[in-house]
């Protein structure tokens, strides 16, 4: 038994078909439980009132926006090193999901920022680097769509993903240098004394789990679609030859 068995598309399809209903159910359960708990059964913050509850959407989607890119980076590396097609397709499948999470984080942040900071948008380092992250996602998706040959596209997007990761990190520190922040600091770290209060922390944890499961579910679904599309193309090509 090794993890590379799942690089076989057939094995991957079997396993993911078995796992998908469970993952879907779990993520829906976590999201419903976490959001209802967060929205209706937590107290209002003494300063922010009920607007604080947007963290149950904002924080998990922001986390997953970054994690999706990391997952794409790992999948791209696996493709470059071991040439497993499922890996390249999974990276391709994850990109639009990551872009959507980035958009959710930006929009919920703007909705919260309007009443709290008095502005929809500020050129704060975190906000700016998320906007830049969205541009990286757009470029990556555009490159996938521009190239017809699937292997060439997978190679080139993998190289772009690697170089892009370095520059995305550089940009993160560059914008830190460029402007002072309005955004509050990290308050969920494991190694800090002062964090967000437990009343908000537990429902948030459930929501984060829900978003992680949702991401895995969506990536599996989209990867299955990509594999089927690839098979369909192969069938059509065979028919044309016959």
């Amino acid at each position: 038994m090794s993890i590379w068995e799942y690089a076989n598309p057939k094995k991957f399809m079997q396993t993911s078909a078995w796992a998908l209903p469970w993952l879907t159910g779990l993520s829906v359960l976590c999201l419903i439980a976490g959001l209802i708990w967060g929205f209706f059964f937590t107290p209002d913050d003494y300063k922010q009132g009920s607007t604080v509850k947007i963290i149950y959407l904002h924080v998990p989607s922001a986390m997953m926006a970054i994690n999706a890119w990391v997952m794409m980076l790992v999948a791209s590396l696996i493709w470059l090193v071991r040439r497993h097609h499922v890996s390249a397709l999974a990276a391709r499948a994850a990109a639009p999901i990551g872009l959507t999470f980035t958009a959710i984080a930006l929009v919920t942040g703007a909705l919260w920022g309007q009443p709290m900071w008095g502005t929809w948008w500020a050129w704060d380092p975190r906000l700016t680097s998320f906007l830049i992250l969205a541009l990286f996602y757009l470029g990556y998706i555009a490159l996938w769509q521009a190239i017809d040959d699937p292997d060439t596209a997978a190679d080139l997007t993998s190289v772009l993903c690697m170089v892009g990761s370095v520059f995305a990190l550089l940009s993160r520190y560059a914008v830190n240098f460029w402007n002072q922040g309005l955004h509050q600091g990290a308050s969920l770290s494991l190694d800090k004394e002062e964090n967000v209060s437990d009343v908000f922390w537990f429902p948030l944890l459930v929501c984060i789990a829900g978003f992680v499961l949702l991401f895995v579910t969506l990536v599996l679904m989209r990867t299955r679609t990509e594999i089927r599309a690839r098979r369909l193309q192969a069938l059509l090509a065979r028919e044309r030859l016959a």
Partner: protein, 218 residues
């Protein structure tokens, strides 16, 4: 390698090579921005570092697709790939030729445009220094983008979408050097970071670009 550099430079300077287009574009930016925001000297002086850097960046972007596309179409890129020079070296030389034609030229004319933009006198030296230190990074990052999109027909827009996010750190540090220089502040930190980005890009990106070209020539 020197022969290749001379060939690329000659191609760029001869008719239709695009030399001068970037400079003209840079000049147009410096003329159009005051027309757009108004002639007040104080406003212009405030935005001058940013506008000049953004202008240089866009002027650089204009000629990027020429780095590999023409050679790819007429087959010379295949010859270069099979020549005894490593492909990484070819990429570096082509980025260097692109830099001489755009980055170096922009650096030299930048003080003239800084007059148009009413940049404070203290900023002139730092404008030239920051452009000299930062534009090589623009060329080599651009060469990487051009290598990725060399197989794409009409890839110009895609190239901009890929390359512009990669330009963010260079732009931030470059404009910061000029801004601080114009105000008479210390410029050491952003200048070193800018030079660091240039050095790192020069060292590593030719390998990524050569890998992308190999994939495209497959």
């Amino acid at each position: 390698m020197i022969a290749l550099l001379i060939r690329d430079l000659r191609l760029a300077f001869r008719a239709g090579g695009g030399f001068g287009l970037g400079l003209a574009f840079f000049l147009l930016v410096a003329v159009l921005v005051p027309l757009g925001v108004g002639p007040e000297g104080a406003t212009l002086a405030k935005i001058a570092p940013g506008i000049l850097w953004v202008g240089a960046l866009l002027a650089c972007l204009l000629s990027l697709d020429r780095i590999f596309a023409l050679d790819f179409e007429d087959g010379s890129l295949d010859l270069l790939a099979t020549s005894p020079i490593p492909l990484e070296g070819v990429v570096a030389i082509k980025a260097l030729a692109h830099w001489v034609v755009t980055g170096l030229a922009l650096t030299l004319v930048a003080p003239v445009l800084a007059v148009l933009m009413n940049l404070p006198v203290d900023g002139y030296l730092w404008l030239v220094v920051s452009l000299a230190a930062g534009t090589p990074a623009l060329s080599v990052i651009g060469a990487f983008g051009a290598a990725l999109t060399v197989g794409v027909k009409r890839g110009g827009l895609l190239l901009s979408l890929l390359v512009l996010p990669l330009y963010v750190p260079t732009l931030i540090f470059g404009a910061e050097v000029v801004k601080r220089g114009a105000l008479g502040l210390q410029v050491g930190t952003p200048l070193l970071l800018l030079a660091g980005i240039t050095a790192g890009s020069l060292a590593l990106l030719p390998f990524a670009a050569a890998a992308a070209i190999r994939v495209n020539l497959r």
